[in-house]
Point group: C2
Chain length 337, copies 2
DNA sequence: TTCAATGCTGACACCGGTGTCATAATGTCG
DNA sequence: CGACATTATGACACCGGTGTCAGCATTGAA
């Protein structure tokens, strides 16, 4: 069984390579008869063009890189799922590249990645989406990129986000409507722009409901479960104890829940707990966490789709979309008694 | 800034392309003087060979595919981490390919993957590692592959596993030593060979401690959290209720814990619960789950490393290794009262 | 009827590497 | 010192596609 190449197809069909190439790429200036003939040979010989040869000729790799540095495995897989789907739609492949934002010489790392892998474009996921040094670098290298869940919009690039501020607002208001006034807040990792956004939403909800913001109720976390434990320890020891805790993601919320349970507190009777992200753990624990669900797959899918179409035909119009986040109510929040 | 290719290096160094190529690939028959000279030019021009051109010439892609179909995000990311590390060590890239074992026409799906991506090799993770149809297909196509966590060893291929049977034996014996005699068991997904292995270990521990195996205490799960809930419902309603439950993975164990808690049972005072895999959730919930930790990254790393070395120089000697699994004791198991 | 415009097709170079083979330079030995 | 083996190097084809351009056929307008 010999390899089927454009040459075998051409000689079998009795036309030139170039004509076969024209049919492959749906170029004009091929008579219908010829096109039909070639297409038939494609089927007969079960021909698939070699992306590597194509890549060499066009100086493209048909590969999109996906950068991430995230403690949440579920977030990572959701990002991958969305990105993969978009890639497959356009015969691209996805190269995953976990790396540390604060690792030694990130830019060098990325430069090497670009050198050795010849990526056609890059998807930036948090916290890279809003890392100016990296964005500037990619711009200078003229590497197309798309940003997922970025907070900064004043830019001419592709950016798909969901409304973190609004989500945080809604879940905080949900707690307020249940009668809570003393609502502790655990911040996320300072490198993530979502951290600031969620904090803003929390404060806006307090303000718009006439509740005074209290600095003492705010703890610094970093999205990791472990940081949630530390923050929870401080918060649960406060006198008087807040009646609710809103953690910036579900892992930290789960940590609060664990500690509260260890301290014999009943959730939600003694204290309400809310998270963010709707990670699997939110429904794997008891009580299930009230949280905010974001369309992560959808965001990434749109970002990559736009990125690919931008690569094939560069356009000036930026693509910037904000998708909706949704409140999911579970058992961890209840009316104050 | 022009592109730096092998041609520019050659003319700049005053030698032929071929000589540059020889230096690149550490081939013999280059005088030390010439080699030095060329290496210096590499540095000066900051040259990196184009893997696409190389791939075309050698009919290789320098890409390894990674197949998986697994509900556990943490398992997937661990697999990816190990595989990526091995790939980077050898200037390979990793292409992730989630797909359904029982999906429509798996073989076709994979065939298309091979056609369009020109993979140099494939890593099979459970449940693909022990799926005969796929293995046979890859063999017939002469695609190098490596199997991770496969149970079947009578094969001449690369296979790296950990000892599921022994792990299950140890954790069951751990329960027995705590005084438990009525130990329920929740099976995993029948497509995974680990399911059978873990069950075997459970039975061996019972047998070697003179406890009679009781069919009534065994439930069919499929590794998903949801299936754990179903199994838990049945188990916790048994009269008399077993004093311990050993679930084939942590998600199902977490489900048992959730249901037990909802039923006002104290864990581990009223009932002990053990899991398998040491997934993040095992330490994110309260009480933390006693479980078995497997070196997933290490397994995948070894498998991919071997796969790549097999690709560069095919050898007949199969590489088959079994790594150790380790018992991790947390709060969810305790002596019977 | 003639000439320009347009449509269709193929020859050929090119992308950036590697493989083959011929040849020049050097070393070895009787 | 000449015959021969060995080492070092380069010319050139090749991998499987795409881009450029020339040439021929056909069509439309003058």
């Amino acid at each position: 069984m010999k390899k089927v190449t454009i040459n075998s197809v051409a000689s079998y069909a009795g036309v030139s390579k170039k004509t076969v190439s024209r049919v492959l790429n749906n170029e004009p200036n091929v008579s219908d008869a010829t096109r039909e003939k070639v297409l038939k040979v494609f089927k007969e010989l079960d021909y698939t063009p070699n992306p590597i040869a194509r890549g060499l000729a066009q100086n493209r790799s048909f590969i999109i890189g996906c950068l991430y540095d995230n403690p949440s495995k579920s977030y990572i897989t959701r990002v991958q799922t969305g990105a993969l789907a978009a890639c497959h739609d356009h015969n691209y492949n996805l190269l995953i590249h976990p790396c540390e934002l604060r690792g030694q010489d990130l830019i060098n790392n990325i430069e090497q990645l670009l050198q050795t892998s010849r990526l056609d474009g890059i998807v930036l996921t948090p916290p890279f989406s809003d890392f100016p040094e990296l964005v500037t670098f990619l711009k200078s290298k003229k590497i197309p990129y798309a940003r997922v869940a970025s907070a900064v919009l004043e830019d001419d690039s592709i950016s798909v986000r969901s409304n973190d501020e609004q989500g945080a607002f809604e879940i905080t208001e949900h707690l307020i409507k249940l009668g809570h006034k003393e609502i502790a807040f655990i911040k996320g990792h300072p490198d993530h722009s979502a951290t600031e956004q969620r904090f803003k939403g929390y404060r806006r909800a307090l303000a718009s409901n006439g509740i005074e913001f209290n600095e003492r109720l705010v703890e610094e976390g970093n999205f990791s479960y472990h940081s949630g434990v530390d923050s929870a320890r401080t918060i649960l020891d406060l006198e008087p104890r807040p009646t609710a805790v809103f953690a910036s993601n579900d892992y930290m919320a789960a940590a609060v829940l664990k500690l509260a349970t260890q301290m014999q507190l009943k959730v939600p009777d003694d204290i309400s707990i809310a998270g963010f992200d709707n990670a699997p753990i939110a429904r794997h624990i008891w009580p299930g966490l009230t949280t905010i669900a974001q369309p992560v797959e959808e965001m990434t899918h749109q970002a990559v789709t736009q990125l690919i179409s931008h690569i094939s035909e560069p356009q000036e119009t930026p693509y910037q979309v904000t998708l909706e986040a949704k409140l999911i109510t579970r058992e961890s929040t209840a009316a104050i008694k």
